[in-house]
Subunit: 215 residues, 2 copies
């Protein structure tokens, strides 16, 4: 029987690469998409579209955090555009507990469909200042599934990759980057100035390719 996996999927560059990676490892992939009131709501529909185009099952879960005042969800807090994310500084785009909430839903979904694995596009290089993107954090979440005795393993295949390394891996896996959406802003086209856009641009620059989403 084919192994089953739940993929935390936003339809962005990272999680789409992770999805293609899991498919290349012969997992039957089930995409879990989150609508958490993000300004870049576009990614929710875009993610479902990518999953559908691949003939995959996807579930979209709505999350409302009444107390969240992060730059990703609160209209009164601006998406930072003055500098790229720096080490040791938790940026205003950090949504408290976000990855823990995402993973807890993934555990619930994975337990229900009896999945063997959860894949996520967590990255300890570019997002080193997010406390929920570290190896220690992943290890702790793995100890939770161990305690739950559900045998679900958590995989973060791009954890130690730079953006350029992620793109290189994705190109080998034929990830359709033109379909992926990375920008944090709610604009029609990628803004080009938010942290997320800048990191993506830097990655494509380093591999010496044009970003197909900007063609």
């Amino acid at each position: 029987m084919k192994k089953k996996a739940v993929i935390l999927f936003s339809g962005g560059l990272d999680s789409t690469t992770v999805l293609y990676y899991a498919m290349s490892k012969k997992y039957d992939c089930h995409c879990l998409i989150f609508d958490y009131g993000q300004k870049h709501k576009k990614e929710v529909k875009n993610a479902a579209k990518i999953a559908k185009s691949l003939g995959l099952v996807s579930q979209t879960v709505r999350i409302k955090l009444p107390w969240d005042k992060s730059a990703l969800t609160d209209k009164t807090v601006n998406i930072p555009n003055h500098k790229i994310i720096k080490k040791g500084f938790v940026p205003p785009t950090y949504v408290p507990g976000r990855n823990t909430i995402f993973l807890s839903y993934a555990i619930s979904y994975a337990e229900t469909i009896k999945a063997d694995a959860i894949f996520l596009g967590i990255n300890a290089v570019d997002f080193s200042s997010y406390p929920d993107c570290t190896g220690q954090y992943l290890h702790a979440m793995q100890s939770v599934t161990k305690a739950l005795k559900n045998k679900i393993t958590i995989h973060a295949p791009i954890e130690h990759f730079s953006k350029a390394q992620i793109i290189k891996m994705g190109m080998k896996l034929k990830v359709p980057y033109e379909k992926t959406w990375t920008c944090y802003s709610g604009t029609k086209k990628p803004c080009g100035i938010c942290d997320s856009c800048k990191l993506r641009a830097k990655g494509f620059e380093e591999v010496g390719r044009d970003d197909p989403a900007l063609q």
Copy 2:
């Protein structure tokens, strides 16, 4: 400054006792209530009412698990009434990942309001067959907050208590048990036959008191 705590609060016998315990330890308590589509939806309003009567802040979060088919939420699955919960058997009332989802929201809320602690009414005695009610599980969740570096400690003061011991503690703390709602069924009055009602009745019987909610 007063210590701050987030309480996972359902307005039931266990979590109300835990709330009173945290208040007795001089915590400024913030109640976190979950509407997860439970048949006994009554508990959501009841919990908010108890919090309000104590002058406490409460937040109600709506959770929808499209894949959940547990007896607590799925109308096509009956609440078991034939026997009390037994060791080693995960009952149909187990909602996959439920406590992990609850705790992840609590972590998000606690990080936002800079709380020192999270309290929950997890119990390893009566609910020993729930994989998310064990010491190993709590320890794993504590390692998550440690990894997140938020200094939030997780407290489960009734973890090793029998129902009778919980009631004894609650009586000392003057918990108004007549206001608490425990029953799993969606009935107007406690059904008296679900696992939850039976455990509660057994507890009051053991301490030699009548359940004030049934007066």
